[in-house]
């Protein structure tokens, strides 16, 4: 008898199975790529699922223009390494109106990300979009299906989800409707880090601790990635201090808080994560802006 499969082997096999089902049944799939660690794992699994063919769909980055520079660098490299087409969409209305996280708060997320994503899916006519979300991230995610069905206006109805039995996924939909697919639904944050470590996956260097220029803003610690642009938006030049920091989660640089840390290798990161007492998303402002049901509301409106 063989050694039983480990949990990571089984999670990987499940994600591969899901990706292959989508490719077999959807007309025009796309992989949403946010450049974060979860996206890195998802892209790595996609390469495995279809090897020796390249993954038979493009990558789509819904850009806010406020990502860290290191993220933009890795984005280009990863797409090239995987042999995949990279599509970048920026909401022209948000660009026009100069929407930014400092002046516009929740509107920044809505216009750049929620509206931007809907525009991009409509523009290219994608009928299935892979996302790297996990059920352990947030309470309403825990109940979302692997194949999450969206109306033609991208709405999600948590009370009317299709039952999902065994590993049989119903990918049927009418014209204009689409499906968001979460191949890593059953992974936890620790699984993600262990897998990155085990598979030696390249991630944005900002996850590793280093001396970086930082400033404080409304009680949080942020990295000064583009000081000139920050000055323009803030109306003053923030006071910069050099600190040893890293990021647990990567979003738009003003929305993502840094943590002071000395963890410069993957084992050290995992060690820090396991010993830490605050949960992953705390560094992100998004969940807090309208009470404890905010993620569920965002999803009903079409957020990923």
């Amino acid at each position: 008898m063989n050694a039983p499969l480990t949990h990571l082997q089984r999670l990987e096999a499940e994600a591969i199975h899901i990706m292959r089902e989508v490719v077999a049944e959807a007309e025009k799939p796309v992989m949403l790529y946010s450049i974060g660690k979860d996206s890195a794992v998802m892209l790595h699994i996609a390469k495995k699922a279809f090897d020796p063919s390249p993954p038979p769909f493009p990558l789509l980055h819904v850009d806010t223009t406020w990502k860290f520079k290191a993220m933009y660098d890795l984005r280009e490299k990863s797409a090239k390494d995987a042999g995949m087409e990279l599509l970048v969409h920026r909401n022209p209305e948000a660009e026009e109106a100069g929407i930014n996280p400092f002046d516009h708060g929740p509107l920044h997320t809505d216009m750049w990300k929620t509206q931007g994503l809907k525009q991009a899916l409509d523009k290219y006519g994608f009928d299935a979009a892979f996302g790297g979300a996990r059920r352990d991230e947030e309470k309403s995610r825990a109940k979302e299906r692997v194949f999450s069905f969206r109306t033609a206006s991208h709405g999600w109805d948590p009370k009317n989800q299709r039952p999902e039995l065994w590993n049989l996924y119903n990918a049927r939909k009418k014209k204009g409707e689409s499906i968001r697919v979460f191949p890593m639904s059953n992974w936890t944050e620790l699984d993600i880090w262990q897998y990155i470590h085990l598979e030696n996956i390249e991630i944005v260097p900002l996850y590793y601790s280093a001396k970086r220029p930082t400033f404080e803003y409304e009680g949080g610690l942020f990295m000064a990635d583009d000081i000139d642009r920050l000055e323009k938006v803030l109306g003053h030049r923030p006071e910069i201090t050099e600190r040893s920091i890293r990021f647990r989660t990567l979003g738009c640089f003003p929305l993502t808080g840094a943590v002071e840390s000395e963890a410069a290798t993957l084992p050290e990161i995992i060690q820090e994560m396991l010993l830490t007492t605050t949960s992953e998303r705390q560094g992100r402002v998004i969940d807090k802006d309208s009470g404890d049901a905010s993620m569920e509301k965002k999803k009903q409106e079409g957020y990923f």
């Binding site: 008898m1 063989n2 039983p4 499969l5 480990t6 949990h7 990571l8 082997q9 089984r10 990987e12 096999a13 499940e14 199975h17 292959r20 089902e21 077999a24 390469k47 495995k48 699922a49 279809f50 090897d51 020796p52 063919s53 059920r135 352990d136 309470k139 309403s140 825990a142 109940k143 948590p158 009370k159 989800q161 299709r162 039952p163 039995l165 065994w166 590993n167 049989l168 119903n170 939909k173 059953n186 936890t188 620790l190 262990q194 470590h197 085990l198 084992p267 050290e268 995992i270 060690q271 396991l274 010993l275 830490t276 007492t277 605050t278 949960s279 705390q282 404890d292 569920e296 509301k297």
Partner: protein, 635 residues
């Protein structure tokens, strides 16, 4: 309290590499918790998460605030709040859907499906149970085995869960009384035996106080078994069991990057495979040998159940999505008629005879379900006569598919025996099923090839077969217009035949009435007759109300592309009723005629008819001329 089991902090702090090495070799167990509304499921799961340090300090702070605001445990922490996710249910204080939760111990990662206890949510429980290796059935020690306990146990047994844990919860509230516990366990054992659960593990616990969760409790010295977590760490996982069976791998996708490589990708459902192994490809039955098992990380020497792989074969055998690669000496069966247990998951009841889409492994076929042999009352286990299955009903019925399906009995192979049913119009997942066995008659009926083909039949008649399918309300003018069209085609030397609703009901379908199920069977038979006539090369005209989109689509699917022309005879109900040629509307309005389309039975107008004629604006002759112009030339 839990630290002996979960505690890894020292190792994490002292030697992270050793910790990582250890944790890379964990296995994974999926289980469900089920019980009645207040049996404490969410509390138990909250406790497991809490003890495994899956709650961070900020979440704990939020939990404490919430506990005081909406909690049901006074000033103490309400673990249930951690688990109940969606906004709607937080207001109602009940779980309304399946939620998946994760925690890990030293040896295993666990995925928990939290299944609700309400009667109307059987579908959620079945969903959670379908992927579970184990079920924890919770019983409130004060209440004992309830109707819901029986229902949940029965469903777990039907879904093939081999490991059942009877967790007698809230032991703290009966002062850890062994006699009461023993009575509950004995009650359950009698019932379990009745439904075919041969083995289960009972334990006295308190999710709220933590007794026998991670460590043996001092409050129950009389209990000699393991605590819950230790048991969860020890039981056999389905994948390990499945790996011992003969090989089967449903093919999901054919990987063909260039002419030199052709691999078959899939998740191995059962068994193991090595290069050089003889295999059989189904349904063709052709044999070949495994050349390689290709992965991104290089070729494998061996792969087993639960792994996603790409298999290359030695020969150029035909193999595509839906096929199954199996052990050459133990291939699955192939059939198109089965007996199955069906669980209905949709608000709209099952319609016997309607064609649903069936998905089984990577196969997608069209399937119809006969009137159930019986429905099972999940509370009493009685077999009840049934004409249909409503939401949350479970029954046994015959299933017929339009193409042969590769399968194994569900009890032997979940992946090749479990299927879902999808409504072809709404696209909802409406049912789930578990195959029992193939009906022998399917195995003994074979297709006899005929020497003269349908093309030759048609070519002799100098025409292309067509089905002109007239649909519309009673009195809309279908028969009149169809007659006019047939006359015109006759004058053009076309070979035609008109099937009329009333006439067919005098003969072929005289045994059918006007219920939804009979209407579907009516159209199915007409569809089959129509298909035979089209095979004979004829242009067939049909004039039937044919009220449901799904059945018109079913007939369209029976015919080659382009041969089915749906003609919508569009007459508003008021106009048809005003005409009332046969006096039927009056009878229906007077209540003398039941199930009359447009009055007390629905009509679903076509969404994309090939031809629409409006009989308010056109006379029958004009409508006929319009149709003939649309369908010519006829070759």
């Amino acid at each position: 309290m839990s630290s002996e089991i979960y505690k890894t902090e020292d190792l994490i702090a002292e030697d992270i590499d050793a910790y990582l090495e250890k944790h890379q070799h964990k296995t994974m167990l999926r289980f469900i918790t089920c019980g009645s509304v207040d049996d404490g499921k969410s509390t138990l799961i909250g406790r497991l998460l809490y003890d495994s340090k899956m709650i961070f300090e900020d979440q704990l702070a939020a939990l404490e605030t919430d506990s005081k605001k909406v909690g049901t445990q006074g000033q103490e922490i309400d673990f249930a709040l951690l688990v109940d996710g969606l906004a709607a249910e937080r207001e109602q204080g009940i779980t309304i859907d399946v939620a998946y939760r994760f925690f890990a111990t030293e040896n295993r990662k666990f995925i928990v499906a939290d299944c609700p206890g309400h009667e109307q949510y059987t579908r959620n429980m079945v969903t959670g149970a379908s992927t579970a290796d184990l079920a924890v059935i919770l019983v409130d020690a004060r209440k004992g085995v309830l109707v819901q306990t029986r229902r949940h146990s029965f469903l777990c047994q039907k879904l093939g869960i081999r490991n059942i844990v009877l967790a007698v919860n809230k032991m703290d509230l009966i002062d850890y009384d062994q006699d009461k516990y023993d009575t509950i366990v004995a009650d359950y054992a009698a019932f379990a035996d009745e439904i075919g659960i041969t083995d289960f593990t009972a334990m006295p616990i308190s999710g709220f106080k933590g007794d026998n969760i991670t460590a043996p409790s001092a409050n129950t010295p009389w209990y000699k078994g393991p605590p819950l977590v230790a048991h969860l760490e020890a039981v056999e996982i389905n994948a390990a069991h499945d790996a011992e069976l003969p090989l089967s791998m449903p093919v999901q996708w054919v990987n063909r990057p260039n002419l030199d490589f052709r691999g078959f990708s899939g998740l191995i459902a059962t068994g193991a495979v090595k290069p050089g192994d003889p295999v059989r490809v189904l349904p063709s039955g052709k044999t070949s040998t495994v050349k390689s098992i290709t992965t991104f990380d290089g070729d494998l020497d061996e792969a087993q159940a639960g792994q996603s792989v790409t298999i290359c074969l030695d020969d150029e055998v035909d193999c595509s999505r839906g096929d199954v690669i199996a052990a050459a000496d133990a291939p699955p069966e192939v059939s198109d008629q089965f007996e199955a247990t069906i669980v209905w998951l949709d608000d709209e009841a099952m319609l016997p005879g309607r064609a649903y889409q069936m998905k089984l492994a990577s196969q997608t076929v069209s399937a119809t379900i006969a009137e159930p042999k019986y429905e099972i009352n999940v509370n009493t286990l009685e077999h009840l006569a049934a004409k249909t299955l409503d939401l949350n009903a479970i029954g046994v019925a015959e299933v017929t598919t339009d193409k042969p399906v590769i399968f194994e009995p569900y009890s032997e192979n979940r992946a090749l025996g479990g299927f879902i049913l999808i409504d072809k119009i709404s696209n909802r997942t409406v049912g789930a099923g578990m195959l029992h066995f193939s009906l022998r008659r399917a195995q003994n009926v074979h297709w006899q090839p005929t020497a003269v083909t349908r093309e030759e039949h048609a070519s002799l008649k100098n025409q292309k077969p067509l089905v002109l399918w007239f649909t519309g309300l009673s009195g809309s003018g279908k028969s009149t217009i169809a007659n006019e069209v047939e006359k015109a085609l006759n004058l053009m030397n076309r070979h035609t035949f008109l099937l009329d609703g009333d006439n067919v009901r005098h003969g072929l379908n005289k045994d059918l009435g006007f219920t939804d199920a009979d209407r579907i069977e009516n159209i199915r038979r007409i569809g089959e007759v129509t298909k035979l006539m089209a095979d004979a090369g004829l242009i067939v005209l049909t004039a039937f109300i044919s009220p449901f989109r799904a059945e018109r689509q079913m007939v369209r699917d029976m015919l080659p592309d382009g041969e089915f022309i749906e003609i919508f005879v569009d007459t508003p109900l008021e106009v048809a009723e005003e005409r009332d040629v046969k006096g039927l509307y009056k009878k229906a309005r007077d209540g003398q005629l039941k199930n009359f389309t447009g009055i007390d039975s629905p009509y679903e107008p076509p969404e994309n008819a090939d031809i629409t004629v409006n009989t308010v604006e056109m006379s029958p002759a004009e409508a006929a001329e319009f149709i003939v112009r649309k369908i010519t030339p006829l070759k």
